[in-house]
Amino acid sequence: MSTFFFFVQLLNAIQYALILYLVASGLTLLLGIMGVINLAHGAFYMVGAYIAFAVVQQFGNFWLTLPAGILIGLALGALIEKFLLSRLEGADHLSQVLLSFGLILLINEGQRLIFGNDPHGVEVPKILAASIPLSNTLSYPVYRLFVCAVGIVFIIAIGLIMAKSRIGMMLRASAENRDMARAMGIDVKFVYLGVTAVGIACTVLAGVIAAPLASVYPGMGDQVLIQSFVVIVLGGIGSLSGALVGSLLLGLVDAFGKQFFPNYAAFLVYAAMIAVLIVRPQGLVRSRGT
């Protein structure tokens, strides 16, 4: 493998990692701050992709999909917290697993009822439709670089919010010690509402942005779900920086695994996760809420 293609694979790995991070960060917020395990997270990713498809089809403008995705994601998250998750307070993970499993079935069937079963494509916006030639055979789509940029902006933004803002501190405090956070006057219920709304909106947004890349089809969330679980377990539940490390690790394992062990690519991801957990049962990055 030449140095040149090594760097191309590295770019692939990073770009894949950034998309994964968009999905996984929402999931890890829910897991870390609320202790809620949400199997339906992949389904929300699919919801995002279908929002992108519907909006582009209706209005012909890709840029409208971003606010639409965020708004619908926030609303969806708030509704789910208000009417479902909040009722599980004090229940164990089993209830959460099953509630979200039920949600998967409902969302998947809902998608079929509304959009049918055909796969759909979402056109890349004109301004980003070009490709940059890397070699005489290979070029890199500008849209993928755009996705990278969105991912990096998102990492910085969410990192700053979590690290510097009072809201970030409150979130971290709530994640660490719910009772003490309440004793300090933090309305934890409201925090949960916000976190669920934002966490799900992140994932929906990831789906929106990925739609032109990934195409839009039923059940597209399943794969993403399992992969982002792996990311979170690698990085440590509730840790945003851990999720970043996990995403990068998974991106690398994925891109280079497919290059060097093409027949065992699927195993490698899980093998990596199990190996990490044997050495460090609480994930690579231990601290919560950072």
Partner: protein, 322 residues
């Protein structure tokens, strides 16, 4: 578990056992096959309920043990005639238990969500093992050409006929459910509960919570394997999807609907869910909406499950404690 719930639990089990015994006499054809499937799934749910309830381990990977045992039968079955049931069953159950030992040994070190995610990962690993590699027929699955036969000293017993196979399933599931019922009440069950509710106390009594949970996990994994073996024998066909996490989650739904803190609950959950599926499918193409709704409503309305819920209805009115 309080005494009333325990009584209800026992009564439900008895009722189920008696009702199930009538199946080969009152049902025929497809209905016996359906009853066989449901009975096997009930056994799987009860086995899973044993780790979810007393051991407090929310395993989303039990389908892997079920599927591994099924594949062991498929791989051991000759193309030309029936396999030896005792031998293949022993190896399949042992194999499933051994896999459970590996999965458990690694996963039980983690608690809570990590445990859940670890079991999902192991289940998917199992799925890819059979889907991606040449072991056991790849993605299109593999046949068990002939249903295994029981070689006794004086004769060979064939289970080709549906009623007789049902009886075999009935006996095996009866044993598994009975074992779970007994284990929950045994000293081992108490230690398990103690490990779930108060780790420190378990340690003080000289038991390692890790070891106790692992033993329960392996027992349950072996039982799940027995159910997988029966499924492979019933259908004569195995496929990688048997191991995937969706299958595990479905088994968990059964456990939760019925009630994880009882032995009868998971069995009742299995019966209700599979019947609901059967009926909804005839009714609408979008039957999964119905299943999804059942799950969501069950989780919200009766989070402890149906059996404790019913037992609660018969509870004497008590002074309300805040």
């Amino acid at each position: 578990m309080n005494a009333r719930l325990e009584k209800f639990d026992g009564a439900f089990l008895l009722l189920l056992a008696v009702a199930a015994a009538f199946v080969p006499f009152v049902l025929s054809g497809y209905e016996i096959k359906l009853a066989t499937t449901i009975t096997i799934q009930a056994g799987l749910a009860v086995a899973l309920g044993f780790v979810v309830g007393p051991a407090g381990l929310t395993s989303v990977g039990h389908a892997a043990f079920y599927g591994v045992a099924a594949y062991i039968l498929a791989m051991m079955s000759p193309k030309s005639g029936p396999a030896d049931m005792l031998l293949t069953a022993a190896i399949a159950i042992f194999g499933a238990a051994a896999f459970a030992l590996v999965v458990g040994a690694v996963s039980i070190r983690s608690r809570g969500m990590y445990f859940i995610l670890m079991t999902i990962a192991f289940g998917q690993l199992g799925y890819h093992l059979f889907n991606d590699t040449g072991i056991g027929g790849k993605s299109d699955g593999s046949y068990v050409q002939f249903r295994p036969e029981l070689h006794l000293f004086w004769t060979d017993v064939s289970f080709d006929k549906a009623p007789r196979f049902y009886m075999l399933v009935y006996v095996v599931v009866f044993l598994v459910v009975g074992a779970c019922w007994w284990l929950r009440r045994s000293a081992f069950g108490s230690v398990l509960l103690a490990a779930r509710d108060n780790e420190a106390r378990t340690r003080a009594f000289g038991f390692s919570p890790y070891v106790v949970r692992l033993i329960a996990f392996v027992i349950s994994g072996g039982m799940a394997g027995a159910m997988g073996y029966l499924t492979a024998a019933q259908h004569g066909f195995v496929a990688p999807q048997m191991l995937a996490w969706h299958a595990s989650a479905f088994a968990l739904v059964m456990v939760l609907i019925g009630g994880k803190d009882t032995t009868s609950g998971p069995a009742i959950g299995a019966i209700l869910l599979l019947l609901a599926e059967e009926i909804l499918q005839r009714w609408t193409e979008h039957w999964l909406v119905g299943v999804g709704l059942i799950i969501v409503v069950a989780v919200i309305a009766a989070p402890r499950g149906l059996v404790p819920f019913v037992a609660g209805l018969f509870a004497p009115k008590q002074a309300h404690h805040g």
